[in-house]
């Protein structure tokens, strides 16, 4: 079972490897990936350096191409595919049909992982991508219950990767327009969800106001721990109740440590840690906990018990310091 960690830069990548990550995923410094933030990601020289480092340490390197080529600008995405192939990266993480077609015909030996942004949640969808592009692996959207993950793993024509820890996307990924509805930019079109340039914090007496493109997402006390502002984690009022509530989801992170044995038994091949936008310290801490957990499980699967210490360490780096099982738990749904 692979531990796959995010790397927003070389420092994060080193932190991940030092903490025991088997592989990292990273993106180029442009809008070919959905974490297109200033100061983040790799230019081609850095990517070469990353490849060298991964090779030395016998770890794997995946390039994330999880946005959709814009009409008339496709060459930027095709070039990224070629870069990955030329450098001999271990896999490309792709969401778009035209990119999958390009990669599978031009570089048939380059392993393809279906990005979560492709939103493949069932056997027929996985079969489409397997038959059309011979994908090796698919990343499952965070909409399936643990039972549905297990059922799918039994019949899946490709290896399955799941999100194990990190910020929780509560919508079927790749098909959520909440960000573009409010800001004009979405992961699919603009390179990120809830772009930072639209986020504004204001003081209002004892309160702090969080706005996204002027829309008020949250009114909180100055002390309250807040996650990164996104539309689905705002506090709103409904037509039936004037008390502000988290009507969609509260600021919280996904943590599946307790599901580790079930995911392993189901044959899930890779556990993904979210957070290319987070610091090297975050990557190192989270990777270290998950390394210990996976090693402990594999040393003696029957005796596996999640340590309180691990969960505490993960909660510290979680949004609002709260974690959830998300859709894996039927109760959450």
């Amino acid at each position: 079972m692979e531990l796959l960690c995010p790397a927003g830069n070389l420092a994060s990548m080193k932190a991940a490897f030092n903490a025991g990550a088997d592989a990292v995923y990273l993106g180029l410094k442009n809008d070919t990936n959905a974490r297109s933030f200033a100061g983040l990601n790799f230019n081609s020289a850095q990517l070469k350096q990353a490849k060298k480092l991964a090779q030395q340490q016998k770890r794997k390197l995946f390039l994330t191409l999880n946005t959709f080529p814009k009409p008339g600008e496709e060459s930027r995405w095709f070039e990224a595919v070629d870069i990955a192939a030329d450098l001999g990266l271990d896999a490309l993480i792709v969401a778009d049909v035209s990119l999958l077609e390009y990669a599978s015909t031009r570089h048939p030996h380059l392993p393809l992982h279906l990005s979560v942004q492709a939103s493949a949640t069932n056997l027929a969808a996985l079969s489409f991508y397997k038959q059309s592009f011979d994908i090796e692996r698919a990343v499952l959207p965070r909409v399936l219950s643990i039972k549905q993950v297990k059922d799918l793993a039994k019949v899946s024509p490709v290896d399955l990767e799941v999100f194990a820890f990190g910020s929780l996307c509560i919508m079927a990924e790749g098909r959520c327009h909440l960000s573009s509805y409010v800001t004009g930019q979405s992961p699919n079109t603009g390179g990120s969800c809830s772009p930072a340039k639209h986020v504004r914090w204001q003081d209002d007496g004892n309160d702090k106001l969080t706005r996204l493109n002027d829309v008020l997402l949250e009114r909180s006390s100055q002390e309250q721990q807040l996650g990164y502002p996104v539309v689905c984690k705002g506090r709103y009022i409904s037509e039936t109740n004037n008390t502000p509530e988290y009507l969609l989801e509260s600021p919280t992170s996904l943590n599946t440590l307790s599901l580790l044995p079930e995911l392993a038994k189901a044959g899930v091949c890779s556990l993904k840690i979210e957070g290319r936008q987070r610091s090297p310290a975050y990557v190192g801490q989270v990777a270290s906990v998950w390394r210990q957990a996976i090693d402990t499980y594999q040393a003696n699967p029957q005796a596996f018990v999640e340590s309180q210490h691990w969960n505490e360490a993960l909660a510290k780096v979680s949004e609002g310091q709260i974690t959830t099982l998300g859709a894996y738990a039927r109760q959450w749904q």
Binding site: T121, C176, H177, Y236, Q333
Partner: protein
């Protein structure tokens, strides 16, 4: 260009649905998309009921397309999807790539609905090779996007979502049930009590979203009726209206009648809806919630 009617996004009683489609049959709307696209727990109408409605509408000279679910998770949902595809008579609207796969396997043509991620010409052309004969532009894309994509006239038809609350996202979680402290597994199809969805406002009373079970919609209503003429000029084949109530059929019918007369009079523009904010931002490449004033 023709007017099409989106599948009903809300959970209505069987009686209300039947009444709705009986009225549809009396209008001049050309193409009717039909079926449960949001949640498999909604069982007011079964596939057999939709087939009966499809027969009735076909007899009334409507083009009928059976729409399928946007989010397919359980094996049982896949089995139900297969039954839709094997209907033997009507075209399918695929709203998940799984439906594309099953239609392709069955060697059947299909429409790609707005929740299939078609973001460029090469992807569309690929899906055309798999059997796609029409696509509905994904909600968040714009006129500028579409112009680039159809510069060379494609071998498939183009449809644009022109009116209604925009389905912005789908989740495993049922937000309507959550709001009422019910678990999804025992939801009592509570969404039926909100036939237009449940309005969500910011703490400054700005309408933002509508909760419709597992679907989250825009609180504002997209209204591209002022753009009908330019869309016709662009070669768009279908202009889609999503009804919020049976009353919206009057709007769709009026637009269809205008298009049939080949001359678009100013009366084809739907007046702003009282108490509901209009939006058209996506069409102009802006935030979807914005109302762009072309001549301001």
């Amino acid at each position: 260009m023709k007017i099409s009617l989106a599948p009903l996004h809300y959970c209505w009683s069987k009686q209300d649905v039947m009444q709705f489609y009986e009225k549809v049959a009396t209008t001049n709307i050309d193409t009717i998309y039909l079926g449960e696209t949001v949640c498999s727990r909604r069982r007011e109408l079964k596939l057999a009921d939709y087939i009966n409605i499809a027969k009735m509408l076909t007899a009334a000279d409507k083009q009928v397309v059976l729409s399928t679910m946007a989010l397919i998770e359980a094996q049982s949902e896949l089995t139900e999807l297969k039954r839709y595809i094997d209907n033997g008579e009507w075209l399918i609207e695929a709203n998940d790539i799984g439906a594309v796969q099953l239609a392709h396997q069955a060697n059947l043509p299909f429409v790609c609905g707005p929740t299939i991620n078609n973001y460029n010409r090469a992807s569309l052309d690929f899906l055309h090779k798999k059997g796609m004969m029409r696509f509905v532009m994904p909600y968040e894309l714009s006129k500028a996007w579409l112009e680039k994509v159809i510069t060379a006239k494609p071998a498939y038809e183009v449809e644009v979502f022109g009116f209604g609350h925009i389905p912005l996202a789908h989740s495993a979680r049922c937000f309507t049930a959550k709001h009422l402290n019910l678990h999804k597994d025992n939801c009592q199809t509570i969404c039926q009590q909100y036939p237009k969805g449940l309005l969500v406002q910011t703490q400054e009373n700005q309408p933002l979203l509508r909760l419709n079970g597992i679907q989250t919609q825009s609180a504002a209503c997209i209204n591209l009726s002022a753009n009908l003429h330019e869309m016709q000029q662009m070669g768009i084949d279908y202009w889609r209206l999503s009804a919020r109530s049976i009353d919206d059929l009057t709007i769709a019918d009026a637009l269809a009648n205008n298009l049939n007369q080949q001359t678009l009079s100013t009366s084809s523009v739907i007046p702003s809806i009282k108490q509901i904010q209009d939006c058209n931002g996506y069409w102009y490449g802006e935030a979807g919630m914005k109302q762009h004033q072309p001549h301001a």
